[in-house]
Amino acid sequence: MIECRHLGKRYPGGHEALLDINLSVARGELAFLTGHSGAGKSTLLKLIALLERPTRGSLRVNGHEVARLPAAAVPGYRRHIGIIFQDHRLLADRNVFENVALPLRITGMAEPQVAKRVRAALDKVGLLGREDSRPAALSAGQQQRVGIARAIVNRPAILLADEPTGNLDPDLSREIMRLFLDFNRVGVTAIIATHDHALIDEFGHRRLHLEGGRLVEDRQP
Protein backbone atom coordinates (compact mmCIF):
# COMPACT_ATOMS: atom_id res chain seq x y z
CA MET A 1 0.00 0.00 0.00
CA ILE A 2 2.70 2.47 1.03
CA GLU A 3 6.24 1.83 -0.10
CA CYS A 4 9.22 4.11 0.52
CA ARG A 5 12.55 3.45 -1.19
CA HIS A 6 15.58 5.57 -0.27
CA LEU A 7 13.14 8.33 0.60
CA GLY A 8 14.70 11.60 1.76
CA LYS A 9 13.69 15.15 2.52
CA ARG A 10 16.07 18.06 2.64
CA TYR A 11 14.49 21.44 3.47
CA PRO A 12 15.68 24.68 1.89
CA GLY A 13 18.54 25.82 4.10
CA GLY A 14 20.06 22.36 4.16
CA HIS A 15 18.28 20.62 7.05
CA GLU A 16 18.01 16.89 6.32
CA ALA A 17 14.69 15.88 7.90
CA LEU A 18 14.61 12.37 6.46
CA LEU A 19 17.48 10.18 5.22
CA ASP A 20 17.21 7.05 3.13
CA ILE A 21 13.92 5.71 4.49
CA ASN A 22 13.03 2.23 3.26
CA LEU A 23 9.77 0.79 4.48
CA SER A 24 6.61 -0.83 3.37
CA VAL A 25 3.17 -0.69 4.99
CA ALA A 26 0.68 -3.22 3.70
CA ARG A 27 -2.98 -2.60 2.95
CA GLY A 28 -5.02 -2.79 6.16
CA GLU A 29 -1.97 -2.59 8.40
CA LEU A 30 -1.65 -0.29 11.44
CA ALA A 31 1.80 1.02 12.32
CA PHE A 32 3.00 3.36 15.05
CA LEU A 33 5.65 5.85 14.12
CA THR A 34 7.83 6.72 17.10
CA GLY A 35 10.83 8.91 17.80
CA HIS A 36 11.85 12.06 19.62
CA SER A 37 10.83 15.53 18.46
CA GLY A 38 12.69 16.32 15.24
CA ALA A 39 13.23 12.63 14.44
CA GLY A 40 11.25 13.06 11.19
CA LYS A 41 7.86 11.53 12.14
CA SER A 42 5.80 14.52 11.00
CA THR A 43 7.91 14.94 7.87
CA LEU A 44 7.30 11.33 6.86
CA LEU A 45 3.54 11.76 7.33
CA LYS A 46 3.65 15.02 5.37
CA LEU A 47 5.47 13.28 2.53
CA ILE A 48 2.90 10.50 2.39
CA ALA A 49 0.08 13.10 2.37
CA LEU A 50 2.03 15.12 -0.22
CA LEU A 51 1.95 18.16 2.06
CA GLU A 52 5.67 18.18 1.35
CA ARG A 53 7.53 16.70 -1.60
CA PRO A 54 10.43 14.28 -1.12
CA THR A 55 13.78 15.50 -2.41
CA ARG A 56 15.12 11.97 -2.93
CA GLY A 57 13.90 8.45 -3.50
CA SER A 58 10.62 6.87 -4.38
CA LEU A 59 7.23 6.90 -2.68
CA ARG A 60 4.66 4.50 -4.05
CA VAL A 61 1.10 4.49 -2.78
CA ASN A 62 -1.26 1.81 -3.98
CA GLY A 63 1.23 0.93 -6.70
CA HIS A 64 1.54 4.49 -8.05
CA GLU A 65 4.63 6.63 -7.79
CA VAL A 66 3.35 9.80 -6.11
CA ALA A 67 6.59 11.61 -5.27
CA ARG A 68 6.45 13.51 -8.53
CA LEU A 69 2.67 13.65 -8.94
CA PRO A 70 1.65 16.82 -10.88
CA ALA A 71 0.45 19.63 -8.58
CA ALA A 72 -3.02 19.56 -10.17
CA ALA A 73 -3.43 15.89 -9.19
CA VAL A 74 -2.48 16.39 -5.53
CA PRO A 75 -5.93 17.51 -4.24
CA GLY A 76 -7.51 14.39 -5.76
CA TYR A 77 -4.83 12.21 -4.18
CA ARG A 78 -5.33 13.87 -0.80
CA ARG A 79 -9.04 13.04 -0.85
CA HIS A 80 -8.11 9.38 -0.45
CA ILE A 81 -6.13 10.08 2.72
CA GLY A 82 -7.53 11.02 6.11
CA ILE A 83 -5.21 13.27 8.14
CA ILE A 84 -5.48 13.91 11.87
CA PHE A 85 -3.41 16.47 13.76
CA GLN A 86 -2.62 17.00 17.41
CA ASP A 87 -4.15 20.50 17.23
CA HIS A 88 -7.28 19.18 15.43
CA ARG A 89 -7.25 21.99 12.85
CA LEU A 90 -10.99 22.55 13.21
CA LEU A 91 -12.64 25.70 11.89
CA ALA A 92 -13.72 27.70 14.92
CA ASP A 93 -16.46 29.62 13.13
CA ARG A 94 -18.20 26.48 11.85
CA ASN A 95 -20.16 23.94 13.82
CA VAL A 96 -19.30 20.26 14.12
CA PHE A 97 -21.47 19.29 11.14
CA GLU A 98 -19.86 21.90 8.86
CA ASN A 99 -16.36 20.86 9.93
CA VAL A 100 -16.97 17.19 9.25
CA ALA A 101 -18.84 17.92 5.99
CA LEU A 102 -15.93 19.86 4.48
CA PRO A 103 -14.14 16.94 2.74
CA LEU A 104 -17.45 15.82 1.20
CA ARG A 105 -18.48 19.27 0.01
CA ILE A 106 -15.14 19.63 -1.72
CA THR A 107 -16.15 16.76 -3.99
CA GLY A 108 -19.50 18.38 -4.86
CA MET A 109 -21.53 15.68 -3.13
CA ALA A 110 -25.29 16.32 -2.91
CA GLU A 111 -26.45 17.68 0.46
CA PRO A 112 -28.71 14.76 1.49
CA GLN A 113 -25.81 12.37 0.98
CA VAL A 114 -23.47 14.73 2.84
CA ALA A 115 -25.83 14.82 5.81
CA LYS A 116 -26.12 11.01 5.84
CA ARG A 117 -22.35 10.49 5.72
CA VAL A 118 -21.61 13.16 8.33
CA ARG A 119 -24.08 11.66 10.78
CA ALA A 120 -22.62 8.20 10.19
CA ALA A 121 -19.08 9.52 10.85
CA LEU A 122 -20.20 11.36 13.98
CA ASP A 123 -21.98 8.21 15.15
CA LYS A 124 -18.74 6.25 14.78
CA VAL A 125 -16.82 8.69 16.99
CA GLY A 126 -19.69 9.00 19.49
CA LEU A 127 -20.64 12.58 18.74
CA LEU A 128 -24.03 12.14 17.11
CA GLY A 129 -26.28 14.86 18.52
CA ARG A 130 -23.48 17.43 18.74
CA GLU A 131 -23.75 18.55 15.10
CA ASP A 132 -24.65 22.12 15.98
CA SER A 133 -21.94 22.65 18.59
CA ARG A 134 -19.01 24.92 17.87
CA PRO A 135 -15.55 23.38 18.46
CA ALA A 136 -14.93 25.80 21.34
CA ALA A 137 -17.88 24.27 23.18
CA LEU A 138 -16.32 20.79 23.08
CA SER A 139 -13.67 19.17 25.28
CA ALA A 140 -10.20 18.41 23.86
CA GLY A 141 -11.11 14.75 23.43
CA GLN A 142 -14.36 15.62 21.66
CA GLN A 143 -12.52 18.06 19.38
CA GLN A 144 -10.08 15.32 18.47
CA ARG A 145 -12.98 13.01 17.72
CA VAL A 146 -14.45 15.66 15.41
CA GLY A 147 -11.05 15.76 13.67
CA ILE A 148 -11.17 11.98 13.31
CA ALA A 149 -14.74 12.10 11.98
CA ARG A 150 -13.61 14.64 9.40
CA ALA A 151 -10.71 12.37 8.44
CA ILE A 152 -12.85 9.28 7.95
CA VAL A 153 -16.01 10.82 6.49
CA ASN A 154 -14.63 10.46 2.96
CA ARG A 155 -13.95 6.75 3.63
CA PRO A 156 -10.22 7.06 2.97
CA ALA A 157 -7.99 4.09 2.30
CA ILE A 158 -5.22 5.56 4.45
CA LEU A 159 -5.36 7.32 7.81
CA LEU A 160 -2.39 9.38 8.94
CA ALA A 161 -2.39 10.72 12.50
CA ASP A 162 0.27 13.05 13.86
CA GLU A 163 0.34 12.88 17.68
CA PRO A 164 -3.46 12.45 17.88
CA THR A 165 -3.38 11.89 21.65
CA GLY A 166 -0.71 14.47 22.46
CA ASN A 167 -2.98 16.74 24.47
CA LEU A 168 -5.22 14.10 25.98
CA ASP A 169 -5.19 12.31 29.33
CA PRO A 170 -4.52 8.51 29.33
CA ASP A 171 -8.19 7.51 29.36
CA LEU A 172 -9.09 9.77 26.46
CA SER A 173 -5.95 8.66 24.62
CA ARG A 174 -7.00 5.04 24.94
CA GLU A 175 -10.50 5.94 23.71
CA ILE A 176 -9.06 7.68 20.62
CA MET A 177 -6.67 4.82 19.95
CA ARG A 178 -9.56 2.33 20.08
CA LEU A 179 -11.25 4.36 17.33
CA PHE A 180 -8.19 3.93 15.13
CA LEU A 181 -8.20 0.20 15.82
CA ASP A 182 -11.89 0.07 14.86
CA PHE A 183 -11.18 1.75 11.52
CA ASN A 184 -8.16 -0.48 10.99
CA ARG A 185 -10.30 -3.57 11.56
CA VAL A 186 -12.49 -2.60 8.59
CA GLY A 187 -9.45 -2.39 6.30
CA VAL A 188 -8.16 1.16 6.67
CA THR A 189 -4.38 1.41 6.57
CA ALA A 190 -3.21 3.61 9.46
CA ILE A 191 0.08 5.22 10.44
CA ILE A 192 0.03 6.91 13.81
CA ALA A 193 2.91 9.08 15.00
CA THR A 194 3.12 9.19 18.78
CA HIS A 195 5.44 9.69 21.75
CA ASP A 196 3.27 7.58 24.00
CA HIS A 197 5.22 4.33 24.49
CA ALA A 198 2.81 3.04 27.11
CA LEU A 199 -0.05 3.30 24.67
CA ILE A 200 1.96 1.55 21.94
CA ASP A 201 2.87 -1.25 24.32
CA GLU A 202 -0.74 -1.58 25.43
CA PHE A 203 -2.13 -1.88 21.90
CA GLY A 204 0.87 -3.66 20.41
CA HIS A 205 1.17 -3.24 16.62
CA ARG A 206 4.05 -2.66 14.27
CA ARG A 207 6.41 0.05 15.48
CA LEU A 208 8.61 2.14 13.19
CA HIS A 209 11.21 4.07 15.17
CA LEU A 210 12.93 7.10 13.69
CA GLU A 211 16.06 8.82 14.96
CA GLY A 212 17.73 11.80 13.30
CA GLY A 213 15.69 11.30 10.15
CA ARG A 214 16.64 7.59 9.80
CA LEU A 215 14.50 4.51 10.35
CA VAL A 216 16.43 2.69 13.07
CA GLU A 217 13.92 0.09 14.15
CA ASP A 218 11.06 -1.74 12.47
CA ARG A 219 9.54 -3.96 15.18
CA GLN A 220 6.64 -6.26 14.44
CA PRO A 221 4.24 -7.01 17.35
Partner: protein, 311 residues
Protein backbone atom coordinates in the same frame (compact mmCIF):
# COMPACT_ATOMS: atom_id res chain seq x y z
CA UNK B 1 -17.20 0.68 -29.90
CA UNK B 2 -16.14 3.31 -27.35
CA UNK B 3 -18.27 3.64 -24.26
CA UNK B 4 -19.70 7.10 -23.71
CA UNK B 5 -19.71 8.35 -20.14
CA UNK B 6 -22.83 9.97 -18.74
CA UNK B 7 -21.90 13.65 -18.18
CA UNK B 8 -24.84 14.33 -15.87
CA UNK B 9 -23.27 13.32 -12.53
CA UNK B 10 -20.22 15.49 -13.28
CA UNK B 11 -22.48 18.39 -14.22
CA UNK B 12 -24.56 17.91 -11.08
CA UNK B 13 -21.37 17.92 -8.97
CA UNK B 14 -20.20 21.11 -10.67
CA UNK B 15 -23.56 22.80 -10.09
CA UNK B 16 -23.50 21.66 -6.47
CA UNK B 17 -20.02 23.16 -6.04
CA UNK B 18 -21.29 26.47 -7.45
CA UNK B 19 -24.35 26.39 -5.16
CA UNK B 20 -22.05 25.86 -2.17
CA UNK B 21 -19.74 28.68 -3.26
CA UNK B 22 -22.72 30.99 -3.76
CA UNK B 23 -24.05 30.20 -0.28
CA UNK B 24 -20.59 30.69 1.21
CA UNK B 25 -20.14 34.02 -0.58
CA UNK B 26 -23.52 35.29 0.67
CA UNK B 27 -22.70 34.10 4.19
CA UNK B 28 -19.39 35.96 4.04
CA UNK B 29 -21.14 39.15 2.90
CA UNK B 30 -23.70 38.83 5.71
CA UNK B 31 -20.97 38.18 8.26
CA UNK B 32 -19.41 41.63 7.81
CA UNK B 33 -22.16 44.00 6.62
CA UNK B 34 -20.47 47.30 7.52
CA UNK B 35 -17.06 46.70 5.89
CA UNK B 36 -18.87 45.32 2.83
CA UNK B 37 -21.07 48.42 2.69
CA UNK B 38 -17.97 50.67 2.77
CA UNK B 39 -16.44 48.62 -0.05
CA UNK B 40 -19.63 49.00 -2.08
CA UNK B 41 -19.62 52.75 -1.45
CA UNK B 42 -15.96 53.07 -2.48
CA UNK B 43 -16.68 51.24 -5.74
CA UNK B 44 -19.91 53.20 -6.26
CA UNK B 45 -18.12 56.55 -5.96
CA UNK B 46 -15.24 55.36 -8.15
CA UNK B 47 -17.73 54.38 -10.88
CA UNK B 48 -20.20 57.24 -10.41
CA UNK B 49 -17.68 60.05 -10.96
CA UNK B 50 -16.47 59.15 -14.46
CA UNK B 51 -19.87 57.72 -15.45
CA UNK B 52 -21.74 60.85 -14.42
CA UNK B 53 -19.18 63.11 -16.10
CA UNK B 54 -19.22 61.11 -19.33
CA UNK B 55 -23.02 61.02 -19.51
CA UNK B 56 -23.30 64.75 -18.73
CA UNK B 57 -20.79 65.58 -21.48
CA UNK B 58 -22.68 63.31 -23.85
CA UNK B 59 -25.91 65.16 -23.10
CA UNK B 60 -24.13 68.51 -23.65
CA UNK B 61 -22.89 67.17 -26.99
CA UNK B 62 -26.51 66.54 -27.94
CA UNK B 63 -27.34 70.09 -26.85
CA UNK B 64 -24.66 71.47 -29.20
CA UNK B 65 -26.31 69.61 -32.03
CA UNK B 66 -29.67 71.21 -31.25
CA UNK B 67 -28.50 74.85 -31.48
CA UNK B 68 -28.96 74.67 -35.26
CA UNK B 69 -25.54 76.21 -35.74
CA UNK B 70 -25.45 74.92 -39.25
CA UNK B 71 -27.16 77.95 -40.89
CA UNK B 72 -24.84 80.31 -42.72
CA UNK B 73 -25.77 83.97 -43.20
CA UNK B 74 -24.44 85.30 -46.52
CA UNK B 75 -24.39 89.16 -46.61
CA UNK B 76 -24.40 90.62 -50.11
CA UNK B 77 -22.58 93.77 -51.13
CA UNK B 78 -24.77 96.87 -50.49
CA UNK B 79 -25.11 97.65 -54.22
CA UNK B 80 -26.78 94.29 -54.95
CA UNK B 81 -30.58 94.58 -55.13
CA UNK B 82 -33.14 91.92 -54.20
CA UNK B 83 -33.30 90.55 -57.77
CA UNK B 84 -29.54 89.91 -57.74
CA UNK B 85 -29.95 88.30 -54.34
CA UNK B 86 -32.60 85.92 -55.68
CA UNK B 87 -30.40 84.97 -58.68
CA UNK B 88 -27.48 84.22 -56.37
CA UNK B 89 -29.83 82.30 -54.06
CA UNK B 90 -30.94 80.13 -56.98
CA UNK B 91 -27.36 79.33 -57.97
CA UNK B 92 -26.43 78.50 -54.37
CA UNK B 93 -29.54 76.34 -53.90
CA UNK B 94 -28.47 74.28 -56.92
CA UNK B 95 -25.34 73.12 -55.10
CA UNK B 96 -25.50 69.51 -53.84
CA UNK B 97 -24.18 70.53 -50.42
CA UNK B 98 -27.01 73.05 -49.84
CA UNK B 99 -30.50 72.05 -48.75
CA UNK B 100 -32.31 75.39 -48.75
CA UNK B 101 -31.66 79.09 -49.26
CA UNK B 102 -33.93 81.80 -47.83
CA UNK B 103 -33.67 85.33 -49.20
CA UNK B 104 -34.10 88.27 -46.84
CA UNK B 105 -34.45 91.28 -49.08
CA UNK B 106 -33.05 94.66 -48.09
CA UNK B 107 -36.47 96.06 -47.14
CA UNK B 108 -37.32 92.98 -45.07
CA UNK B 109 -33.94 93.20 -43.37
CA UNK B 110 -34.57 96.81 -42.44
CA UNK B 111 -38.07 96.03 -41.16
CA UNK B 112 -36.76 93.18 -39.00
CA UNK B 113 -33.96 95.35 -37.68
CA UNK B 114 -36.39 98.17 -36.93
CA UNK B 115 -38.64 95.82 -34.98
CA UNK B 116 -35.81 94.12 -33.12
CA UNK B 117 -33.67 97.16 -32.28
CA UNK B 118 -36.31 99.76 -31.34
CA UNK B 119 -34.32 102.33 -33.35
CA UNK B 120 -37.23 103.17 -35.66
CA UNK B 121 -37.01 106.96 -35.43
CA UNK B 122 -33.24 106.98 -35.86
CA UNK B 123 -33.51 104.78 -38.94
CA UNK B 124 -36.04 107.21 -40.45
CA UNK B 125 -33.36 109.86 -40.43
CA UNK B 126 -31.11 107.82 -42.75
CA UNK B 127 -31.28 108.81 -46.43
CA UNK B 128 -30.96 105.20 -47.69
CA UNK B 129 -31.51 101.69 -46.42
CA UNK B 130 -28.00 100.80 -45.16
CA UNK B 131 -28.69 97.09 -44.78
CA UNK B 132 -27.67 94.56 -47.46
CA UNK B 133 -29.76 91.64 -48.68
CA UNK B 134 -29.01 88.44 -46.80
CA UNK B 135 -29.18 84.83 -47.91
CA UNK B 136 -29.76 82.31 -45.11
CA UNK B 137 -28.19 79.07 -46.33
CA UNK B 138 -29.13 75.73 -44.75
CA UNK B 139 -26.53 73.09 -45.70
CA UNK B 140 -27.46 69.60 -46.84
CA UNK B 141 -27.25 66.67 -44.41
CA UNK B 142 -23.97 65.62 -46.01
CA UNK B 143 -22.35 68.66 -44.40
CA UNK B 144 -22.21 66.85 -41.07
CA UNK B 145 -19.18 68.23 -39.32
CA UNK B 146 -17.99 71.66 -38.20
CA UNK B 147 -15.03 71.30 -40.61
CA UNK B 148 -17.29 70.74 -43.66
CA UNK B 149 -19.53 73.60 -42.53
CA UNK B 150 -16.50 75.92 -42.37
CA UNK B 151 -15.38 74.82 -45.86
CA UNK B 152 -18.84 75.56 -47.32
CA UNK B 153 -18.90 78.98 -45.65
CA UNK B 154 -15.48 79.77 -47.09
CA UNK B 155 -16.66 78.80 -50.61
CA UNK B 156 -19.79 80.94 -50.29
CA UNK B 157 -17.63 83.85 -49.12
CA UNK B 158 -15.65 83.72 -52.38
CA UNK B 159 -18.75 84.06 -54.64
CA UNK B 160 -19.14 87.25 -56.66
CA UNK B 161 -21.32 89.83 -54.95
CA UNK B 162 -20.84 88.41 -51.48
CA UNK B 163 -19.57 90.87 -48.94
CA UNK B 164 -19.33 88.71 -45.84
CA UNK B 165 -20.32 85.31 -44.48
CA UNK B 166 -21.27 84.63 -40.93
CA UNK B 167 -22.01 81.30 -39.35
CA UNK B 168 -22.10 79.83 -35.88
CA UNK B 169 -19.70 77.15 -36.94
CA UNK B 170 -16.61 78.80 -35.44
CA UNK B 171 -17.80 78.75 -31.84
CA UNK B 172 -19.64 75.48 -32.33
CA UNK B 173 -16.37 74.01 -33.55
CA UNK B 174 -14.67 75.26 -30.38
CA UNK B 175 -17.43 73.89 -28.18
CA UNK B 176 -17.32 70.53 -29.98
CA UNK B 177 -13.53 70.41 -29.66
CA UNK B 178 -13.81 71.19 -25.95
CA UNK B 179 -16.52 68.55 -25.46
CA UNK B 180 -14.49 65.97 -27.38
CA UNK B 181 -11.43 66.73 -25.24
CA UNK B 182 -13.50 66.47 -22.07
CA UNK B 183 -15.08 63.20 -23.25
CA UNK B 184 -11.63 61.75 -23.95
CA UNK B 185 -10.47 63.01 -20.57
CA UNK B 186 -13.45 61.31 -18.94
CA UNK B 187 -12.49 58.03 -20.67
CA UNK B 188 -8.95 58.37 -19.28
CA UNK B 189 -10.35 59.19 -15.85
CA UNK B 190 -12.74 56.21 -16.15
CA UNK B 191 -9.78 53.93 -16.91
CA UNK B 192 -7.98 55.21 -13.82
CA UNK B 193 -11.08 54.70 -11.72
CA UNK B 194 -11.44 51.18 -13.16
CA UNK B 195 -7.92 50.56 -11.91
CA UNK B 196 -9.00 51.95 -8.56
CA UNK B 197 -11.94 49.49 -8.49
CA UNK B 198 -9.52 46.64 -9.24
CA UNK B 199 -7.27 47.84 -6.40
CA UNK B 200 -10.20 48.03 -3.99
CA UNK B 201 -11.13 44.44 -4.92
CA UNK B 202 -7.50 43.34 -4.42
CA UNK B 203 -7.22 45.00 -0.99
CA UNK B 204 -10.57 43.60 0.16
CA UNK B 205 -9.63 40.11 -1.04
CA UNK B 206 -6.20 40.30 0.58
CA UNK B 207 -7.82 41.06 3.94
CA UNK B 208 -10.42 38.32 3.43
CA UNK B 209 -7.85 35.74 2.38
CA UNK B 210 -5.73 36.57 5.45
CA UNK B 211 -8.80 36.35 7.70
CA UNK B 212 -9.76 33.00 6.22
CA UNK B 213 -6.24 31.61 5.96
CA UNK B 214 -6.93 28.76 8.37
CA UNK B 215 -10.07 27.76 6.47
CA UNK B 216 -8.13 27.75 3.19
CA UNK B 217 -5.32 25.69 4.73
CA UNK B 218 -7.73 23.13 6.16
CA UNK B 219 -9.69 22.95 2.91
CA UNK B 220 -6.49 22.25 0.95
CA UNK B 221 -5.48 19.74 3.60
CA UNK B 222 -8.61 17.67 3.05
CA UNK B 223 -8.31 17.79 -0.74
CA UNK B 224 -9.68 21.11 -1.95
CA UNK B 225 -8.25 22.30 -5.25
CA UNK B 226 -7.61 25.96 -6.06
CA UNK B 227 -10.91 26.23 -7.94
CA UNK B 228 -12.86 25.23 -4.81
CA UNK B 229 -11.00 27.76 -2.68
CA UNK B 230 -11.29 30.48 -5.32
CA UNK B 231 -14.99 30.12 -6.14
CA UNK B 232 -16.59 31.86 -3.09
CA UNK B 233 -14.12 34.75 -3.42
CA UNK B 234 -15.02 35.18 -7.09
CA UNK B 235 -18.74 35.23 -6.27
CA UNK B 236 -17.98 37.77 -3.54
CA UNK B 237 -16.12 39.95 -6.04
CA UNK B 238 -18.95 39.62 -8.55
CA UNK B 239 -21.56 40.70 -5.99
CA UNK B 240 -19.34 43.54 -4.81
CA UNK B 241 -18.74 44.77 -8.37
CA UNK B 242 -22.42 44.55 -9.33
CA UNK B 243 -23.57 46.08 -6.04
CA UNK B 244 -21.05 48.91 -6.32
CA UNK B 245 -22.10 49.60 -9.92
CA UNK B 246 -25.81 49.60 -8.96
CA UNK B 247 -25.12 52.00 -6.11
CA UNK B 248 -22.97 54.13 -8.43
CA UNK B 249 -25.78 54.30 -11.00
CA UNK B 250 -28.11 55.31 -8.17
CA UNK B 251 -25.74 58.14 -7.23
CA UNK B 252 -25.57 59.29 -10.87
CA UNK B 253 -29.37 59.19 -11.14
CA UNK B 254 -29.67 61.24 -7.93
CA UNK B 255 -27.11 63.78 -9.15
CA UNK B 256 -28.89 64.07 -12.53
CA UNK B 257 -32.22 64.54 -10.79
CA UNK B 258 -30.73 67.37 -8.71
CA UNK B 259 -29.09 69.06 -11.72
CA UNK B 260 -31.92 68.54 -14.18
CA UNK B 261 -34.01 71.58 -13.18
CA UNK B 262 -31.24 74.21 -13.29
CA UNK B 263 -29.78 72.80 -16.54
CA UNK B 264 -33.19 72.77 -18.25
CA UNK B 265 -33.54 76.44 -17.31
CA UNK B 266 -30.18 77.21 -18.94
CA UNK B 267 -31.05 75.16 -22.02
CA UNK B 268 -34.38 76.96 -22.37
CA UNK B 269 -32.43 80.17 -22.95
CA UNK B 270 -31.06 78.54 -26.11
CA UNK B 271 -34.46 77.15 -27.04
CA UNK B 272 -33.09 73.65 -26.58
CA UNK B 273 -34.62 70.70 -24.73
CA UNK B 274 -31.52 69.61 -22.75
CA UNK B 275 -32.02 66.50 -20.65
CA UNK B 276 -29.50 64.59 -18.55
CA UNK B 277 -30.18 60.97 -19.39
CA UNK B 278 -29.06 57.65 -17.93
CA UNK B 279 -29.94 55.21 -20.74
CA UNK B 280 -30.92 51.68 -19.69
CA UNK B 281 -28.54 50.12 -22.23
CA UNK B 282 -25.64 52.13 -20.83
CA UNK B 283 -26.57 51.13 -17.26
CA UNK B 284 -26.66 47.44 -18.22
CA UNK B 285 -23.30 47.71 -19.98
CA UNK B 286 -21.81 49.41 -16.92
CA UNK B 287 -23.14 46.64 -14.65
CA UNK B 288 -21.69 44.00 -16.95
CA UNK B 289 -18.34 45.78 -17.16
CA UNK B 290 -18.16 46.31 -13.37
CA UNK B 291 -18.98 42.65 -12.71
CA UNK B 292 -16.43 41.41 -15.26
CA UNK B 293 -13.77 43.83 -14.01
CA UNK B 294 -14.30 42.75 -10.39
CA UNK B 295 -14.13 39.04 -11.22
CA UNK B 296 -11.00 39.54 -13.37
CA UNK B 297 -9.32 41.59 -10.62
CA UNK B 298 -10.28 38.97 -8.04
CA UNK B 299 -8.93 36.16 -10.22
CA UNK B 300 -5.57 37.90 -10.58
CA UNK B 301 -5.42 38.80 -6.89
CA UNK B 302 -6.24 35.21 -5.85
CA UNK B 303 -3.61 33.83 -8.21
CA UNK B 304 -1.07 35.93 -6.27
CA UNK B 305 -2.49 35.40 -2.77
CA UNK B 306 -3.41 31.70 -2.78
CA UNK B 307 -0.01 30.66 -4.08
CA UNK B 308 1.44 31.65 -0.72
CA UNK B 309 -0.97 29.51 1.31
CA UNK B 310 -0.01 25.89 1.75
CA UNK B 311 -1.65 23.41 4.11
Amino acid sequence: MSRRLDPRPALRRRLQLHRQALRQALANLRAAPLPNLFTLLAIAVALALPTGTWLALHSLGDLGGRFNPREIDVFLQPDRDDAAARRLADSIAARPDVAEVTVIGRAQALAEFRAASGLGEALDLLPDNPLPAVLVVRPAATVDSPERLAALAAELGRLAGVDAVEGHHAWVQKVYALLRSLQRLSVVVASLFALLVALVIYIVLRVEVLERRQEIEVSKLVGADDAFVRRPFLYNALFTGLGGALLGLGLVALAFAALDGPLRAVAALYDSPLQLRLPLGFALRLLLAAGALSVAAAWLALALLLRRIRP
